[in-house]
Symmetry: C2
Subunit: 130 residues, 2 copies
């Protein structure tokens, strides 16, 4: 499916010292709640996008057999993705948001509330550093 | 859209010393070829998946106005994403593949051949390290 969407060019301009496209949070959730319902994953993804003050464009969800789920939401400011392996108590979350008006950490906090992981590992990566 | 797909549980078992879900390559391409045609981006994504020896499930593409494109392909082993900002000569590429039989670097080499970036920055992140 191909759609055309207007996108503003809002590069992050941190204290006028460093310019970059956006923040990519790489989150590893361990031993959290197992959410296997595609409708619930979709709802969580859309709400996370709103927490990040981003604009959702399209959501794609795949439920695996016998377990596990993948959900990706395209944003006008990049993407948010969830991949879960319940058999290993592991959920991989990517929050890649662009522009000065994005709040990826608010999306992360929302995911934590939903998945309630016992252990969380986070990496913050600045993307497109000029 | 929700689909159910069978997924094998193939965790990477590196020299029987370190077990992890997969490799996530974070690639920053600078001053490469500008590819704004959604059909071409889709073709490139699918071919990259094949280079990585992964299985594509679904492709979502968004063309932005006045420029820029986003393409994400869901895999039975995670995802590959492209986001481009031609106005800044920047293309962000994510190659997140899981399992022992995935070849993310082969997908990366394929992307390099397609985009011909003058400058490339790569980060390799192991996801789901047990």
């Amino acid at each position: 499916m191909v759609k055309k969407t207007k996108r503003s060019n809002r590069w992050v301009n941190k204290n006028k010292k460093q310019r970059y496209a956006g923040i990519h949070l790489i989150a590893e959730f361990w031993s959290g709640r197992i959410i296997e319902n595609p409708k619930e994953i979709k709802k969580i993804l859309i709400r996370a996008v709103k927490k990040a003050k981003n604009i959702p464009l399209e959501v794609a969800i795949h439920k695996f057999s016998p377990q596990g789920i993948t959900g990706v939401v395209l944003l006008s400011e990049s993407h948010i993705a969830i991949h879960s392996w319940p058999e290993l108590n592991y959920t991989a979350i990517d929050i890649f948001t662009c522009g000065e008006k994005a709040y990826p950490y608010q999306a992360l906090e929302y995911f934590k509330k939903q998945f309630k992981p016992k252990k969380v590992e986070i990496k913050e990566i600045k993307r497109g550093v000029l």
